[in-house]
């Protein structure tokens, strides 16, 4: 809970370099320095997530930097998900149909 735990502090130069390469590869530009810093933080968290997925995967998949590495999980879900097809929505639809049939 210390402020140190919340603020990861300055990023190592190597991560900044990797992020720079990512920006070039996927043509990513950010409006201001604050947005740049936020995206760098998300990028670093996603690298750690990809490494974790790599360890957990039971197949031959490789996880790492992708065009979506600067997005949070929520942003990715909003941009590329399909909220109308989520479990809850489908379940509600089915429930309504059964209720109609019963009536």
């Amino acid at each position: 809970d210390s402020p140190r735990a919340q603020d990861p502090g300055p990023r190592p130069p190597v991560l900044k370099e990797v992020f720079k390469l990512f920006q070039i590869q996927f043509n990513k530009n950010y409006s201001d320095p604050a947005e740049h810093a936020r995206r760098l933080d998300i990028f670093v968290q996603n690298l750690a997530k990809a490494q974790m997925l790599q360890e957990e995967d039971l197949g031959t998949a490789e996880f790492g930097v992708t065009p979506f590495s600067d997005l949070t999980e929520e942003e990715f879900g909003q941009l590329y998900g399909n909220w109308r097809a989520t479990r809850k929505d489908l379940r509600v639809g089915r429930k309504e149909r059964f209720e109609k049939q019963e009536s």
Partner: protein, 245 residues
Amino acid sequence: MPPSCDWRKAHNVLSPVKHQGKCNCCWAIAAAGNIEALWNIRFKQSVEVSVQELLDCGRCGDGCLGGYVWDAFITVLNYSGLASEKDYRFRGHAKTHRCLAPFYKKVAWIQDYIMLPRNEDAMAKYVATQGPITVLINPTLLQHYQKGIIKSTPSTCDPWLASHYILLVGFGKEEKATEKDLFQSNHPPLQSTPYWILKNSWGAHWGEKGYFRLHRGSDTCGITRFPLTACVGDPAEKQKVSCPP
């Protein structure tokens, strides 16, 4: 059932990988891909159908806010077919009050649509003998996917959180010698990983040239939740098709 099937290898069956951009229209792209693949296989005629027509003319309103494959098929049935992609181009945003379907010539149509058994062997048999089908999966792991075969467990990819429609275009087995195998002397056994081949809608620069592979036989990421396909052509005239191995 053949040991492998890859509709990408068949001439003019699959259209180029699309990019949905900022429009949540995976459902329409998957449905269009299913219809055009079945049409191309059945009639040996290359068509690319309009995704935009499905977005503009669907009964659920703004197609860029997501949707269901079955609603795409209902739209095709309601309008007696789909226009070509060339005539009714993809714009990446829906104009729900400007459905232009009546103004264009239909290039492909369907008789019906069906849900397939939620069983990976039955799905493979259908893909091999009829053509590509649509499936719904949990896309969480795809954010960080580069290449290879994803094999997950329900705890790493919840099958009940399936929300992304894609086109299932084939299957196969990857045989790879493990490190342990390489140290064994005579004819080391190969580790075999069965997989599905799936066509995504995030552009050709993502994954394996726009495609990706999921493990087959473990319901990875909920691939068996909603296997759905259109029915193209007269069902009485069932013809055998051969999927390239």
